[in-house]
Symmetry: C2
Subunit: 336 residues, 2 copies
Amino acid sequence: MQEVAEHAGVSIATVSFVVNGTKRVSPQTQAKVEAAMRELGYARNHAASALARGRTDILALLSPALERNLSGTGMEFITRAAERALQRGYKLVLWPFDNQASSVQSLIASRLVAGAVLMEVELHDARVPALRESGLPFSLIGRTLDPTGMAWVDVDFDASIVGTMKDLLGLGHRRIAYVDFVLGDDPEASVFAGAVRARNAYIDTMRSVGGSPVLLRCPETPWDGRHLVSRLLADHPDVTALVVMNEHAAPGIVLGLAAAGVRVPEDMSIISVGTTSMMAAFTDPVLTHTVSPARELSRLGVDAVIDRINDPELPLPQILLPCMRASGESVAPPRS
Amino acid sequence: MQEVAEHAGVSIATVSFVVNGTKRVSPQTQAKVEAAMRELGYARNHAASALARGRTDILALLSPALERNLSGTGMEFITRAAERALQRGYKLVLWPFDNQASSVQSLIASRLVAGAVLMEVELHDARVPALRESGLPFSLIGRTLDPTGMAWVDVDFDASIVGTMKDLLGLGHRRIAYVDFVLGDDPEASVFAGAVRARNAYIDTMRSVGGSPVLLRCPETPWDGRHLVSRLLADHPDVTALVVMNEHAAPGIVLGLAAAGVRVPEDMSIISVGTTSMMAAFTDPVLTHTVSPARELSRLGVDAVIDRINDPELPLPQILLPCMRASGESVAPPRS
């Protein structure tokens, strides 16, 4: 910086203002400093300015989902978050590590980022205490069991599942089964908070109408969806509708039903929840579905952390958005 | 560092060895230094050590694909690259910006990363000259028109398409159409080098057997795949086989053919190239397909840049891997 200052005939402080944008200088001075920087091959140095200013223009998106086969919806979240960060003048880097505290601590210690956005939040998410302790601004796309005192935006799975169930009940369906997913090999490993809340909303709704819940869990692949069908038809022959929160298995379920001579929607109604319209269009009939508000939640989640960076005193956004109903051809009244 | 050295009763150099891992110290000394760091709340500072050592343990994956709806295969590349970086002790951050030189220059100027891996490489990729000029170690997953003097690993699309064509020609197919994709709204905008090489391999093979190429381009969605079918049947009624390099349109093409009463594979054979087995299983019949060697190429691409970081004098890997043939049910001899 001293070289640049001497070369441009200005003070080191002035060079610092220009480099770090910490204070306005006249266009002439700006031009002189920039010319000197070019001539001396002085590259604006993030590491240096991060130390100088104690902040960077980088956000981390913590998404352990990368460890498994990311769904169309998960991809939508990441894409939109990256877009929004750019719009706000930040760079979004993906931190594709597990939900353990250690992976967050390495991020915090690195001092590389000005803030973090967490995805795939668990009910008891080990990343959250580590972040709260660090003081690093962060927001959740999702919710822990008790998100008090944090900035979070989440899909309103409760309302979305209740709405989906009301649609099916309104058509006369009474035996409605619910299909969600398994993370990894352990059927009990799935603690993704949204999945737990959605499942509970289904169970509560079934009980509220005097029905008994039929819970089916399926790995997130189309061939597992095909295999699920024989189990469904053998164990629950009276089921007339499926609520599927498993967008990779859903097309397989449709194919498995067709192979078994079960017509959709005449013999079996299917609603795919929290998916994308592209995933819903991979089958014939096109799946009646609800679309996860990925674009809005990513925007709100990124805004939440950037707003905290700019003003830690701002009120904490705590926002629920429902899935949006989308048309399809896979729902009809139950066969009488 | 001086504080830590005094507190631990060791030299500043010793603290530096521990912090930057630049030299082994005895377990006792290590423990003393780490205790002092804890007591003083000294966080290992990436920005500082980056300046001190002139390097970081971060790699950037430059993947403009995030700007569009990323395919299952693209996701596989990113997932595997992140895994491999972790195995080699590096963190992989996603740099989801366009293929313009400016987005690379901001990365270079930031000095945040030790190296870069480029994906979605174009024939004349503006990122490459910027990186070569900078001296930042990088590798390509893909290839420019002339990749001489660079570290690259790529799908051998030429061999893969030629092999796929040989299979269809061997079964007796002569009228074989080729479906690839359109990036953005401009049909001519797709300059993804792999797409160009694959298309040319198809054209050359058709000409080599005295056939005339039938090129169809389709946006990467299942509904565009459905719409493509009517165009195909109207303009090219004698086509008996499709080579599809468009994994999101392929399921739509199968559905469109079924809706038009065209049986797969009895009336029309389909091979989906450069996809994943999950995408191929979304349809009935399951698509005969070739699987992109995403796992191997990501591993090799990440290794290539890390090896350059550790030893700039190492020979440049230049590796081609073919797609792997995978079984399916969508190919048969042409209807006689």
